[in-house]
């Protein structure tokens, strides 16, 4: 593995920051401080991190209901994220979106979708725009194992293959779609097998190994930037938390979850870096405490921010709302 210490520690830092943010979000939700639903990215941090290490700021992604990690890895400001979770006016979506819809168009996040697989057609369209503009940007569409059973997934893969669009489909196979296990509802062993039907490359990788993710996405991005069209990457992981915070998780045993805690991505990468001499205890503690501090500051910012004025509810629907009847 021929990577600089700086690069490797960068990956580690991003994963730690995502973990710190979502651990805090979980805690705040359980304390009753956050409205709505929260879907945690805990245990899946290696995917967003490994993917985004290949992207430029002007590359696009489409995110999901489980999108906090995508945002952080793409370079979002935790303060504005946390404020959005609180429903405050200083949040990314001015309190209109909440956890499921956090997005920052200025860093290329083309929406976070509450509709499962809702982002895949959008990513396809961004791919068309890139092709028409003759730019070398790429799009990454994140989606879950459950999403791969929706028509939108199949239509988007065919579409991007036919038009050879620079879209990388990153499947976050966390083995569950809410209460349903992937094997119970999915016709293939590996979701990447579905690539064959659309004549595009498909690979399955260990989604808890940040380097494996980085490398698989690297070659897909290179191909896409050079006009080689789409790739389907299945990153296998495990959702170690409930579907949402508060999920009673009656559909699996605690013991199974404990097994997966043993191979969660951050601890694994930590050991690997330590073995390579790329991460000292001091550096590790520093990265962790910095992440926690960043999260604390985000919480303070969110708590000190005001709720939106009710009048703002009647803004943001149209650019030009001349003659529009809100009442």
């Amino acid at each position: 593995m021929d990577y600089s210490k700086e690069f490797l520690q960068g990956l580690y830092r991003t994963m730690v920051r995502i973990r710190a943010f979502d651990s805090k979000a979980e805690e705040l939700f359980l304390e009753g401080k956050l409205p709505g639903f929260i879907h945690l990215y805990i245990g899946e941090e290696a995917i967003a991190t490994g993917v985004m290490a290949n992207l430029r700021k002007d590359d696009y992604i489409t995110s999901t209901h489980r999108g906090h990690g995508h945002m952080i890895a793409k370079g979002a400001d935790m303060k504005k994220m946390m404020a959005e979770l609180y429903g405050k006016i200083t949040g990314y979506c001015r309190g209109k979106g909440g956890s499921m819809h956090i997005a920052d168009l200025s860093i290329g996040v083309l929406g976070a979708n509450g509709e499962v697989a809702g982002g895949l057609p959008i990513a396809s369209g961004a791919g068309m725009a890139i092709k028409l503009k003759k730019s070398d940007q790429v799009v990454v569409a994140f989606f879950g194992d459950g999403a791969s059973n929706r028509g939108a997934f199949h239509e988007a893969l065919n579409w991007c293959s036919v038009y050879k669009l620079p879209v990388i489909f990153v499947n976050e196979n966390n083995q569950f779609a809410s209460t349903e296990r992937v094997q119970e509802t999915t016709s293939v062993q590996n979701i990447s097998d579905r690539a064959v039907s659309y004549s595009i490359p498909g690979v399955t990788i260990d989604g808890n190994d940040v380097i494996a993710v980085y490398e698989a996405v690297k070659s897909a991005v290179e191909r896409a930037r050079n006009g080689g069209g789409p790739t389907l990457i299945e990153a296998k992981t495990y959702r170690i938390k409930g579907h949402f915070v508060g999920d009673p998780t009656l559909y699996r045993k605690k013991k199974e979850v404990q097994e997966y805690w043993r191979i969660e991505p951050i601890g694994r990468f930590e050991k690997r870096l330590e073995k390579m001499g790329m991460l000292t205890d001091e550096e590790k503690e520093k990265i962790k405490s910095e992440a926690e501090k960043e999260v604390e500051e985000a919480v303070r910012f969110a708590e000190e921010s005001p709720f939106p004025e009710t009048a703002t509810a009647l803004q943001d629907l149209f650019v030009d709302d001349t003659g529009y009847d809100y009442y």
């Binding site: 429903g87 979506c93 979106g97």
Partner: protein
């Protein structure tokens, strides 16, 4: 009388009819293991294991296959998970289920039900909060039930389980946990029969679902001011009980129509039009509508409260209509 919850009422209706009719089966996302995300199927857990099926996230097939199964002799009950996601399989509903009997010259019987939660909850934001019942009143071809109490839920759903026409049932998320009297004995509530939830003589409020409760609250508050409000719960939108509404208007001479869905183009506009066409001479003031403001349901709690209607909006409309609007 004993009291049970709205979701228990649904579960009981399903249980009683599934015992009698082996062609009833039910499927959708996340229903078989935890009893549905809002617990509506909890009373069925562990019973009829092969007739309660978890499906892939494939809405067009969930709805379209209900049609196929009905045509092939079964009585499917398909869950739409969230009303917002009906749109991801909408063509199977509006273009297939709602048209096939008519297109085939009356050959097909369609004993099928689509059911699931709609409406606002605790900050679920724009893609998990919609009320879209109006669309199914606008496009012909499906019966629309939208109950407000455990009693109505059970009685209407049992009738739906005997219908040879397709039925769509909207269950408001904030109602699943409410309790109400439901008799032990079996009963059925016919479609197209409104229920006067409160008798009054000054003004009629026509409403459904969560807004029935908000309207009753408004009526109670206004009773202190000497205003006597009649609350008419339509219970079904297709067909809807024109006679009860017009009889009430003949008595009170004032009409408000209140729903959670958008005011603009909502089903309240249809009721208002019909009443002015058929009972214009009985009205002492213009008919007023109460509905959501014409934007999406926002996430932040103060914004959601502002956009979605509640009892205060109903009270304001009543006071305005009594002033002659």
């Amino acid at each position: 009388m004993r009291e049970i919850t709205f979701s228990e009422a649904l579960g009981e209706a399903m249980y009683e009819e599934m015992l009698k009719d082996p062609t009833i089966f039910t499927y959708g996302e996340d229903i078989a293991k935890q009893g549905g995300i809002f617990g509506a199927y909890k009373p069925l857990l562990g019973k009829f294991p092969d007739r309660i099926i978890d499906t892939p996230i494939s809405e067009e097939v969930i709805f379209g296959s209900a049609l196929g199964a009905a045509l092939a002799g079964m009585r499917p009950v398909a869950e739409f998970h969230f009303a917002d996601f009906i749109f991801t399989g909408m063509t199977a509903v509006t273009n297939q289920i709602m048209k096939i009997r008519y297109m085939t010259g009356g050959q097909a019987k369609l004993p099928l039900i689509l059911r699931g939660p709609d409406g606002i909850s605790k900050s679920a934001a724009a893609q998990h909060s919609e009320s879209i019942e109006t669309i199914f009143m606008h496009v012909p071809g499906i019966k629309v039930i939208i109950p407000s109490t455990p009693y109505d839920m059970k009685g209407l759903f049992k009738t739906a389980l005997h219908s040879d026409d397709p039925v769509i049932c909207f269950e408001h998320k904030l109602l699943y946990k409410i309790k109400g009297p439901v008799p032990e004995e079996e009963y059925y509530i016919p479609f197209g029969v409104a229920d006067v939830k409160r008798k009054g003589k000054d003004v009629t409020v026509v409403t459904t679902s969560r807004m029935v409760h908000e309207s009753l609250k408004a009526a109670e508050n206004l009773a202190k001011k000497g205003i006597d409000v009649e609350v008419v719960d339509l219970r079904t939108l297709v067909p809807w009980d024109k006679k009860t509404v017009i009889d009430s208007v003949k008595k009170t001479h004032h009409l408000i129509v209140a729903h959670e869905t958008w005011k603009r183009g909502g089903w309240g506009a249809e009721i208002a039009s019909v009443v002015q066409e058929e009972a214009f001479d009985y009205l002492d003031a213009p008919i007023l509508r109460v509905g959501a403001k014409n934007v999406h349901i926002p996430f932040s709690p103060p914004l959601q409260d502002f956009v979605a209607p509640d009892h205060e909006d109903v009270e304001n409309a009543i006071e305005k209509v009594l002033e002659g609007a």
